[in-house]
Symmetry: C2
Subunit: 316 residues, 2 copies
């Protein structure tokens, strides 16, 4: 397939670098201020090197990438809330051209799911978004295989930064600020970690899960989610939990009765108590009990793998 | 889709019972001595009730089901080794008629993979077999999504009976014979549990994984697997392991260097130490680290769910 990749952060760059290995050709790449376009396939190494060296991917205008020749648009620009722009506009442009869209950007799927599905219904293109929930973990494709109506609930640990902070606090008896600073030094937490530690990132993923599980019957957005972060979890709460064989994790849940994210007590050695930056999703199914899927929930190559799995699905 | 279901054990019966819920029509069912055929759809409840009451599914001859009208043949007869008959013959009949095949029977995929792929290449039908590895757990579809060449190894707990026995031995300090008898009382172990406790069942699943991972480059069969069961694991080994924070699990592995099954020491609270009859599979991927998938690895409705996920994939 021919791919146009919008966004040249860690995920976009990894898609550009790995696409060839999966048999695809990247015909266009854009970041917010530049673009590289070549109908015969851009030079992935050159584009990535230039982005890292000069901060631009090429000499073109970003709109050139949208106008390029491609079968699927990969939307990997940063997640924004509310109108989910500019990501949503990119998705619209592709679907209106009857092209496929593969999203790594959570905004359009969490905040404008109804609009997204409406555009998709009018288009010959499909929209897939496995990469928006749990990085490399195959969550949405598993739900699709089981049938959304056969999965009654989804819950899990969906933010690696918050999970790293909570696991380190519990393991070392350190307080929140100390561990957060450490996580920032390690590059596990961003300079502004608000979305991760206040629960917004996990909530967006749960909203996406709720939208998929409701099978278009009800549309959820972030406004429908009850969200609490980990910034107020004291070290003493983790100590008390440990005395009882338990620990605290930021757990997100999506089910028929809504979307919730917050710190919850879980068994210390239980399935949900993944450590470090790992994510886990539990699916409750109607005929097959509980299914657990865990792995790396973020990272460039990891998330790019999910994007390229979606591209593969479109090609089948 | 129209389905012909061969085999009326727990899995075949569950497929018959659940197919309607997934939008499919069962046009034929057969066990080893009888068949029920109706081009407009058999009466699932009546067929299942008759099987339970009289031991037959209908008044027809088993061959009637093979000759019936269907889009996909569901092969759910018991696994046999060597020539994998009669399952392989059923698969051949369907593919030669350019129909799809969905297997729950491990025999043809583990013992005659090369023949199966050759028949599939000549056919307009496809052969899928998610249900042969790990029951409800989406293992093969995840490998397909990642790309077989991007998964470097698969390992895990693939036999629920053996895992139940080892977990009970470790938790209660009981010996093998005692726990096996208990498992038979509970219906977790069959009257003849040889395939489960001597490692054959797990080995067949690992052979299937190896065949899928090698992407048709090399064909494996049970003869290529190094297999050791759990019958010789003494209670004292589990006690010694526990003193060191570890336990014993029957672990199967499939990688480029071959197929192995045997009792292995694993961390007591680690990911591989699933308890009871649960299964887990770990996939090592090239770009996305390690992925864990766990859930119910056996059971009628659970395995039928995997069969019906394959049927759904064929219809897309």
């Amino acid at each position: 397939m021919k791919l146009a990749v919008l966004g040249a952060g860690a995920v976009g760059r990894s898609v550009v670098e790995l696409a060839g290995e999966y048999g695809h050709t990247v015909t266009a790449v854009a970041d917010s201020g530049s673009a590289a376009v070549d109908p015969d396939g851009i030079d992935a190494d050159a584009v990535v090197a230039r982005k890292e060296r000069e901060g631009v991917v090429g000499d073109g205008d970003p709109d050139d990438a949208l106008a390029a020749e491609y079968d699927a648009l990969v939307e990997a620009t940063p997640t924004t809330l509310g109108d989910a722009q500019p990501g949503f506009g990119h998705v619209r442009a592709a679907l209106e051209r009857d092209r496929h869209v593969v999203l790594a950007n959570k905004g359009p799927v969490a905040e404008r799911y109804g609009d997204l599905r409406a555009l998709e219904r009018e288009s010959a293109g499909d929209a897939l978004f496995e990469a928006t929930v749990g990085g490399a973990i195959p969550v949405l494709s598993t739900i699709a295989d089981f049938g959304p109506s056969k999965v009654t609930a989804a819950r899990g640990v969906l933010n690696g930064t918050a999970n790293f902070v909570l696991s380190r606090m519990a393991a070392e008896g350190l307080d929140y600020e100390h561990v957060l600073a450490e996580a920032q030094d390690l590059g596990v937490a961003e300079a502004d970690p608000s979305f991760d530690v206040n629960g917004t990132d996990a909530a967006l993923k749960c909203v996406i899960l709720a939208n998929v599980l409701s099978d278009d019957d009800v549309v959820y957005s972030l406004d429908d989610a009850a969200v609490e972060g980990i910034t107020d979890v004291p070290g003493s709460a983790l100590e008390l939990a440990a005395e009882d064989g338990r620990t605290v994790r930021l757990i997100g849940e999506a089910a028929a009765d809504g979307v919730r994210v917050g710190p919850r007590l879980v068994p210390e050695n239980g399935t949900l108590a993944v450590t470090g930056t790992r994510n886990i999703v539990q699916l409750e199914t109607e005929h097959a009990g509980r299914l657990n899927v865990s792995g790396r929930g973020a990272g460039g190559p990891e998330t790019a793998t999910a994007v390229l799995a979606d591209v593969g699905r479109l090609g089948r």
